[in-house]
């Protein structure tokens, strides 16, 4: 038994759902108790999907356990196939169904359907969501592509055959999925990055792909493993069985983008890659003097392996932070995280225990936390600014606006979103220094939503020229002095001054009255 307050990953069947729901034409029959349909919400609410996930649940109840649950499974399978007419069927169990051992996958395979059926064996008590997604994607690819596997000793297709075939080079983007971090926009951004090099995207999968698309995967010249958590095992199978080369650099951050471009050029034997265009504003923003105060900021990073490694590089090399903690909940990718940490002279934290991460965070005493939705809890508890860089995420991290992490624009997005909480942190320090402030009092966080109406009021008042109010009029000297007050406190000063004047029967507000009032309210 393991005490969990927050879990970084869901159970493996949620990973399988991510694959099914990301794709078109795939249906998933899940043997699960009543209530496990909560997982639909991840897609309809967090991802804001406009259709139900293609998942049929058996939703057995206690009274079914006395009867024939296997019969229930078979009924659910045949109903689902008949109603949804999928191109491929996934069949699996949730954690409770695993305990009653109905073997739904084997049952499905014995039902005589003429469509590819993938029997998912996802051990819910030892594996988790990303593993489930990775395994599902791999098993689906394997089922659909095993006929295309090369015979032993056969020559591997050359990644530069596009030249002799007189066409543009083309690659597959493997790994993007729903509930991944910003996958929707990363695909668009990486597609742009590739088009700069004259490379086409052949198939992006699982996100948006159908089983028919998966069958076209071998036609590409190489695979790009965008999210190793989801696609590494598939890429390595495609490499082993079909001789397809994988590009492993994940283009998050300026340095990684350059390395990605170089790796791609080398693999595809591109003639000459154009000089890096000045596409991202991030390098200049980071070099500009306003960013000087970022130097040496202590940052704690905890995320999935891909985003943690990328963040560590960006933080240390591109933003000038000091990385004081680096870790990941992805045990499968632990080695790569350890290597990245070692380069920074620290030891990686590989854990899925939220409390352990919180303790490490507290011990490292960072000034900024880059983490997941979970780290926002710990950071709040410890009072440290925090930005989200990886799944698990909540609804605010599936934004309507274009918000990639990869490519040139991704670097812009990263600069803004990582620096933003620090600006707020600075404000907090100022509050600590000047406790007498009459608006920015102890505990006040002006960037927080709940204070927005007050801010709006201030802005409105500041916009209105100070003339007559509450029986007092402002003289020109008073108005001029009011104009010198920083805008974010101006409205408050104006109101305080008018109250002060009104209480004392002063009809004309001069600069002196304003200072009298200011002195009065700071006492």
């Amino acid at each position: 038994m393991e005490l969990t307050l927050w879990t970084y990953e869901g159970p493996p069947h949620v990973g399988a759902m991510r694959i099914a729901t990301s794709m078109e034409g795939v249906h998933y029959v899940l043997h699960a108790p009543q209530g496990d349909t909560y997982a639909d919400l991840l897609f309809t609410m967090i991802e804001r999907q406009n259709k139900r996930p293609p998942v049929t649940y058996t939703t057995f109840q206690a009274r079914d356990l006395g009867g024939d649950t296997a019969e229930l499974v078979k009924r659910s399978i045949s109903d689902a196939v008949e109603r949804f007419q999928p191109q491929a069927l996934l069949v699996g169990e949730s954690c409770t169904a695993e305990l009653i051992q109905d073997q739904p996958g084997s049952l499905a395979q014995g039902m005589g359907f003429n469509l590819p059926i993938v029997n998912l064996e996802l051990p819910a008590y030892s594996k988790k969501e990303n593993w489930g997604a990775s395994e599902t994607f791999y098993q689906l690819l394997r089922t659909l592509l095993k006929d295309q596997a090369l015979n032993p000793g056969a020559e591997k297709p050359s990644p530069s055959r596009w030249r002799s075939e007189q066409r543009k080079p083309r690659v597959n983007l493997l790994g993007p999925s729903l509930l991944g971090f910003r996958c929707r926009d990363d695909v668009i951004e990486v597609t742009k990055l590739l088009s700069e090099l004259g490379v086409d995207v052949h198939v992006a999968a699982p996100l948006g792909a159908s089983p028919a698309d998966l069958k076209r995967i071998p036609e590409a010249d190489a695979n790009i493993c965008l999210y190793p958590e989801i696609a590494e095992s598939s890429c390595s199978w495609l490499e082993r069985q079909l001789g397809m080369v994988s590009i492993k650099t994940v283009p998050i951050g300026i340095g990684a983008i350059q390395q990605f471009r170089e790796e791609l050029a080398a693999v595809l034997e591109l003639d000459q890659i154009p000089a890096p265009p000045d596409r991202s504003r991030m390098p200049w923003y980071s070099q500009s003097v306003d960013s000087t105060y970022l130097t040496g900021k202590r940052v704690f990073i905890f995320a999935d392996a891909t985003h943690a490694i990328a963040a560590a590089r960006i933080a240390s090399k591109e933003l000038g932070f000091q990385v004081v903690g680096l870790g990941s909940y992805c045990r499968e990718q632990a080695r790569a995280v350890r290597a990245a940490a070692q380069e920074l002279g620290i030891e990686a934290l590989i854990s899925d225990d939220y409390l352990e991460v919180e303790a490490a965070m507290a011990a490292a005493a960072p000034e900024l936390v880059l983490g997941t939705q979970m780290e926002r809890h710990s950071a709040k508890r410890l009072g440290i600014p925090c930005a989200v860089i990886s799944a698990p995420i909540h609804v605010q991290d599936v934004p309507a606006r274009y918000a990639p992490q990869m490519g040139w624009e991704g670097a812009n997005v990263i600069f803004d979103s990582w620096v933003h909480p620090l600006m707020m942190g600075l404000e907090e320090h100022l509050i600590g220094m000047f406790r007498h402030d009459f608006e920015f009092v102890e505990g006040h966080m002006s960037h927080k939503g709940q204070k927005a109406p007050a801010d709006k009021l201030v802005a409105e008042e500041a916009a209105v020229p100070a003339t007559v109010s509450g029986g007092c009029s402002w003289t020109s000297s008073g108005s001029a002095e009011l104009g010198r007050i920083p805008f974010f406190v101006r409205g408050k000063v104006k109101r305080n001054t008018e109250t002060f004047a009104h209480e004392r029967g002063i009809s004309e507000i001069t600069d002196e009255v304003l200072y009298e009032a200011k002195a009065h309210f700071t006492r």
Binding site: L3, T7, T37, M45, S94
Partner: protein, 412 residues
Amino acid sequence: MRLEIIKENGQREVFCGLTSIVWLHRRMPDAFFLVVGSRTCAHLIQSAAGVMIFAEPRFGTAILGERDLAGLADANEELDRVVTDLLVRRPEIRTLFLVGSCPSEVIKLDLAKAAERLSTRLQGQVRVVNYSGSGIETTFTQGEDNALTALVPFLPRNDESQLLLVGTLADGVEERFLTLFERLGISNVASFPPRRSTELPSLGKGTKVLLAQPFLGSTARALQSRGAQLLSSPYPLGVEGSSRWFEAAATAFGIDPAHTASVLDPLVERGRAAVAPHRRELEGKRLFLLPDSQMELPLGRFLHRECGMELVEVGTPYLDRALQQPELDLLPAGLQLSEGQHLEKQLDRVRAAKPDLVVCGMGLANPLEAEGFATKWSIELVFSPIHGCDQAGDLAELFARPLRRRAMLAFN
């Protein structure tokens, strides 16, 4: 009334009882809810509540591992260890709920006995209680029913005359109700669950129980078995339901009907006036309620009788005839009622009937919106202050809003 009930079995798109933790942890901030289950259970609760950022988590999961399933680890020792760790971190916890889940029930882990053992060990510090929130046993709000039932044995005995309001109410609503009962002349009123888990109300032969929620069958029976008298009434949703609910209490306490009327009449009048503008938007509109919380009958009754909506189908996950009879008596004859669910068939009925508003869960709301249906997601009804005459307008507004919004939005 003779009832035509469609009883269906098939895929059910509902929450399990664990979800009740999402509001119970706020009602009793000194309690902690420890689910004994799998990663799925942990994932469910954090998906439902995780958008709130907690400095101090008030719920967690003891996730069963392979060692626990294989019997390699003694489940009781493991649970003791987990609870000890938890209490070190959160020493201010006064009540610890051990919440059973599908996995813990399928492997027949005896959490009741574990709760007893831990209670003895932690005597004077923490009370440990057990209830089931599993999907195989409970649907959504039934989790609250089970949690309250588990607390009933701890209610101190007191045979004096008192009124007990049962079911989670919003703080503001609860305070308002206490004022109104006082005005009626009933001053000894307690709430269950209380705001602090240590301040449990007393219970005995003089206790008259008024259920604020329709999903509390097992709690009601537990209270009755300890001598309390259950008052029969429609639920306090809408003006009619609420005034009848107050009247039921007033009658039971022998309050002069003229006095009762003098207290309630102005509320009724004001409530009707508050509902009126929403009634104009809802009148004649066709409503389809999918099963979710067992609140569907009282909601359907309110929307039909007070807002003039036409009921296409009222679905409920479970129909407790005894507790719902006063509601059934107010619903129109020939109402299409369904108990249980076969999701696909029910959605076929939704599509065929083309209702103006569908009340459904969040797994269905956006997909149905995309198909062109106005929806009202039902979980909000357990998170909103909707009880009482004074809230009738707000309750109607919850249903009028999606319709008004659809009419407002234009992108051309």
